[in-house]
């Protein structure tokens, strides 16, 4: 994807890897928890095994999270941990969303105020 022109509409700067709703939610959970295991993420986000696994793999391929597979006793356990690049990407996304909201609120009189 080519870089957007400086000063262009904030929507053009959104990173598809992060902006997708499930991946954004995953990064938010991991940013707050630091790391989480597969069943926890599945429960909190209400995802199926396949869907969650696909999004986790994608985020790991982008270098935004790290997946660690191991065993606890006989039980296999997969942990996902957010990486510094993931935190940066999430912060950039939230900044862009805030900019989009501000733009929207400026243009629509009586629209709800920006959430804190």
């Amino acid at each position: 994807m080519t870089a957007p022109e400086p000063g262009s509409h904030p929507a053009l700067e959104l990173d598809d890897a992060v902006h997708q709703k499930t991946r954004l939610a995953l990064l938010t959970v991991l940013d707050e928890a630091g790391r989480a295991d597969f069943p926890y993420l599945k429960r909190v986000l209400g995802l199926t095994d396949g869907n969650l696994g696909r999004h986790l793999d994608f985020l790991a391929q982008q270098g935004l999270i790290e997946l660690t597979k191991g065993y606890e006793g006989r039980r296999p356990r997969t942990w996902a941990a957010i990486l510094p690049k993931g935190r940066e990407a999430l912060a950039a996304e939230m900044k862009l969303l805030a900019a989009l909201l501000a733009r929207f609120n400026d243009r629509v009189p009586g629209s709800p105020p920006e959430t804190p």
Partner: protein
């Protein structure tokens, strides 16, 4: 729409924070410590000792270390049981930061140790506020600042006006009330965390 999305993300963040017991755990631990100080304080010498008693001098620095250690072990246990991580920064980092700060205080800022003697509520309040600021937890910052400012002012007034020996118990009552307030806040928060959507 973006408004809904940011709301949803905030709700999700709050849910994870609740699962980590990120607010109630420190409130309960430090509330118990403040209550413990209210009970143990008179035996350690109280304000009148002027910092001559070693027990009073080391009470907050040492017990804060064990409190943070307990929070770290508790969060590790929860991570292993529930699958939700220790947060960022984890209590491991917070405990390590606290140990480094104590070394710096002992080496170059010894007078800071007397905060725990003369302004005893300021010490745990400052630690709570620092944890809150580091973990981006507004509730902890707010409660830390409120307890710290109120407790600090109360101690300064008592130091300035002096308290007759027969009224010395009043000081313990104030500390006990602060401890109960923190414990109550912790229990209320724990209840909310349990039923977080």
């Amino acid at each position: 729409m973006e408004t809904d999305l940011t709301h949803e993300l905030e709700r999700l963040r709050a849910r994870v924070r609740a699962d980590r017991r990120a607010t109630s755990d420190p409130l309960l631990v430090f509330g118990a410590l403040v209550l413990g100080f209210a009970v143990a304080g008179p035996f350690l010498g109280g304000l009148g000792a002027g910092g001559r008693h070693l027990g009073l001098l080391v009470f907050w620095p040492v017990l804060t270390f064990f409190a943070l250690l307990g929070l770290w072990l508790g969060s590790r246990r929860r991570a292993a049981r529930d699958g939700v991580g220790e947060g960022s920064p984890s209590y491991r980092a917070v405990t390590a930061g606290y140990v480094v700060a104590q070394v710096v205080i002992i080496v170059v800022l010894i007078p800071v140790l007397f905060v725990g003697v003369f302004l005893p509520l300021v010490w745990p309040a400052a630690v709570l506020a620092a944890i809150g600021a580091w973990q981006r937890n507004r509730t902890l910052v707010l409660l830390g600042v409120v307890i710290g400012v109120a407790g600090g002012l109360e101690s300064l007034v008592v130091l300035r006006l002096g308290l007759p020996p027969e009224w010395a118990w009043l000081q313990s009552v104030v500390y006990a009330l602060a401890g109960v307030a923190l414990l109550t806040a912790g229990l209320v928060t724990r209840r909310r965390e349990r039923y977080s959507p």
